[in-house]
């Protein structure tokens, strides 16, 4: 069989293709659908898609949602923003909201978001930049110690409650050592930024001040590294080699790989960790520096929904966000996977329907008591770089013995100060 394609037809076809390519459109994307982008795993995606289906079924405009892992998410979002093709609804993090808001890459929501019902005031405040609302909190969470309940009970101990201290960590470390079952009490938290932050806050200090400077001195950093060196030498925490296998994914974490019974995490992550662990898990607070000392924790907006600065229809995008956080049916689907819902009606409606892990997370955040301190200012630009490029590398150098704690602490403060000065000049 021969296919005869006339020259005219061929030219018409190819120029249509070229025109489509030049215009950067593909016919599959309908103009009316809102675009939504978020980071997370399959469990979060399933819940999110169920809510978009619910929204469409109620006769609202359709949504095209895509999700990526945390690491892939930010490059993609930044690239799309630079290209002027940012989605209408963007999942946003506390770390980046200031950068995006001050560059108009996300739009102010005060006039379009509508009635959010009875919404937690501190969570609303957390989504403001320069007094304007740029992000709607999708849930409150708090840092928490993830604990393998089964493993701890197997050696005849109990999971510590919220009153526990770093001295209790040593006691549990000793208990695991004498049990000799190949598991240690805790992961190496020396390179975990929220844990350092929590420890500093208990001492009345802060990781960063409101004017974009370091809130602590080299002496504090030295003491921090010395404390973890002590734990490591005594065998209470995993060794440097083992800790380096943790690449930041839940699957490679020290609790998931059964190297340690406990590790620093977040209250909302109990759900995801339990889904990949066959031992029963629970959460408790970060350790206190001494009995009765609180103020290290805070209720953090776990993530926001923001509206893209280039969105053609900010009102429609905001309407979806409103539905997402105030509709009880949507709330029932979402559960506490993104944190504790901030709308009180939703929270009350879903509480009886939650599974055990979600109940634990909800009760934990609701009952932090004296552990809660003031909400810190949003982190300065380059906070991410200091975490990834500096704290992690120097904590590893100290752990592997390539640097002393003294040297590491001094270098950390010196270089972090330089990075902050350069980024916030």
């Amino acid at each position: 069989m021969t296919i005869r394609l006339g020259r005219r037809q061929f030219l018409m076809g190819s120029s249509a293709l070229a025109a489509a390519a030049a215009a950067g459109i593909s016919p599959a994307f309908a103009q009316s659908a809102l675009r939504l982008i978020f980071w997370g795993g399959q469990a979060r995606a399933d819940r999110t898609y169920a809510v978009t289906d619910l929204y469409e079924a109620a006769g609202n405009p359709g949504l095209e949602a895509e999700f990526l892992s945390w690491n892939d998410y930010w490059p993609k979002l930044a690239t799309q923003t630079a290209g002027g093709t940012a989605p209408d609804i963007i999942q946003m993090d506390y770390r980046y909201i200031v950068e995006y808001a001050t560059r108009n890459a996300i739009a102010p929501l005060d006039d379009v978001i509508g009635d959010l019902g009875e919404f937690d005031a501190d969570q609303l405040e957390g989504g403001k930049v320069n007094g304007q609302l740029y992000g709607i909190s999708l849930g409150a969470n708090s840092v928490a110690t993830l604990a393998n309940k089964k493993a701890i009970e197997e050696i005849g101990e109990t999971v510590p409650d919220n009153s526990w201290t770093y001295a209790d960590l040593e006691r549990l470390g000793e208990a695991f050592k004498s049990a000799g079952n190949g598991m240690v009490a805790f992961s190496d938290g020396s390179g975990t930024e929220p844990m350092l932050d929590n420890w500093l806050r208990q001492r009345g200090l802060a990781l960063y001040t409101a004017d974009n400077k370091l809130g602590f001195t080299a002496d504090d950093a030295v003491e921090w590294f010395q404390m973890w060196n002590g734990f490591r030498e005594k065998g209470y925490i995993v060794d440097a080699e083992t800790q380096a296998l943790d690449t930041g994914t839940p699957e490679s974490s020290m609790v998931a790989t059964k190297k340690a019974a406990m590790m620093p995490s977040n209250s909302n992550q109990l759900v995801i960790h339990q889904s990949i662990n066959d031992d029963e898990l629970t959460i408790t607070s970060y350790p206190r520096i001494a009995p009765g000392v609180g103020g290290g924790h805070y209720r953090k907006p776990s993530m926001f929904f923001s509206v893209g600065g280039s969105s053609a229809d900010p009102a429609a995008a905001a309407a979806f966000i409103n539905f997402f956080v105030t509709n009880p049916e949507a709330g029932a689907i979402l559960g506490v996977e993104r944190g504790i819902p901030c709308n009180s009606a939703v929270r009350e409606a879903i509480t009886p329907t939650l599974d055990e892990q979600s109940q634990i997370a909800l009760n934990f955040v609701a009952n932090l008591g004296d552990l809660v301190g003031a909400l810190p200012p949003s982190p300065p630009a380059a906070a991410g770089e200091i975490d990834l490029n500096l704290l992690r590398v120097i904590s590893q150098e100290v752990a592997f013995g390539a640097r002393s704690a003294e040297d590491g602490g001094k270098a950390f403060v010196e270089e972090a100060t330089a990075i902050l000065a350069r980024a916030n000049a």
Partner: protein, 313 residues
């Protein structure tokens, strides 16, 4: 589709315009067929290359427009960036060890396969397989499992009573596991060596044997000199590949260059600058420096080649 060249404009040799238009009519279908490639080449390759050269002189964070800062990016690279120096050291160690080892391995296997053993096509395919899988994510993940503290490699060593370290997460060994991974993917230079070996006339070996030369001597005096053009080609290709190596380090350390930046390849550092810290301007400068580095290396190889590469003509 048929092209009727004879249907083109009437002959008019005196007119330049019509000559051009005739040439165009003759070649237009060809260019049309090339169009998809041209769009890709200019839109996706040349365009970005030119704009990255411009961006390398700017401060650009993707969210706001680029700001011209002259040579500041290049200046910072050499005066005020410890991670840059680390990544250079890691990359050069990787290139210096992985390329010669890989070529030696590829040549050894090629000579073995060249002996005309039974089932040659099968062995050739099997040895080539790792190269096909080479840059894939799956292999990098597999490597992680193999060289972890309780991975297969240590389980094997424990048979002999050796307690191995966690190769992949120990800063003393992590880069070496990546070098081993690279050497293991010796398939494509091996195939090229094999083709080269087939070109060497058998009568030379016969003559050498008659004169009583040992196999070892035959290798050094006949095989290697006659194979130098192929060695030269493989060395250049593999070195460029090694400088550009990215995927294994990215997957194995989840993009961090961990532990202690011991696997912070140049390309990984470049990627982090661009996409983790959003310093597109600085990352562009890094990319152009890498290009310059590879160009210098290749030029050096070509200049020295006349002293050691033998073309038999």
């Amino acid at each position: 589709m048929t092209v009727h060249a004879a249907d083109a404009a009437p002959q008019d040799a005196a007119s330049g315009t019509s000559k051009w238009s005739r040439a165009w009519q003759n070649h237009a279908p060809g260019y049309l067929f090339l169009l998809p490639w041209f769009i890709g080449f200019f839109g996706l390759t040349i365009g970005p290359i030119i704009s990255s050269f411009y961006l390398s002189f700017t401060d650009f964070d993707l969210l706001t427009s680029p700001e011209w800062i002259g040579l500041a990016n290049y200046e910072r690279m050499f005066t005020n960036d410890r991670a840059f120096a680390t990544s250079m050291r890691v990359t050069f160690t990787f290139v210096l060890f992985s390329v010669p080892l890989k070529l030696a391995f590829a040549l050894a296997i090629a000579i073995l396969l060249n002996r005309g053993m039974k089932g040659l096509p099968l062995y050739r395919a099997v040895f080539y397989l790792p190269s096909l899988l080479g840059a894939s994510v799956a292999i990098a993940i597999l490597w992680r499992q193999l060289f972890a503290g309780d991975g297969l490699v240590n389980q094997f060593l424990s048979i002999f009573g050796i307690v191995g370290p966690s190769w992949i997460s120990n800063p003393n060994y992590s880069l070496w596991t990546l070098i081993v991974l690279s050497v293991w993917q010796f398939g494509s230079p091996m195939i090229i060596f094999l083709a080269g070996l087939r070109q060497i006339p058998q009568d030379m070996y016969e003559a050498a044997s008659l004169d009583g030369a040992s196999k070892w001597r035959q290798f050094w005096k006949i095989t290697l000199p006659l194979l130098t053009p192929v060695v030269f080609f493989n060395a250049i290709i593999q070195t460029i590949e090694a400088f550009k190596s990215f995927t294994p380090a990215f997957i194995i350390s989840n993009g961090t260059g961990s532990p202690i930046n011991s696997t912070l390849f140049y390309t990984l550092y470049l990627y982090n600058e661009a996409f983790s810290y959003f310093r597109m301007g600085y990352a562009s400068a890094l990319a152009w420096f890498l290009l310059l580095l590879i160009a210098c290396f290749t030029a050096f190889s070509f200049l020295t080649s006349k002293y050691w590469v033998h073309y038999d003509d």
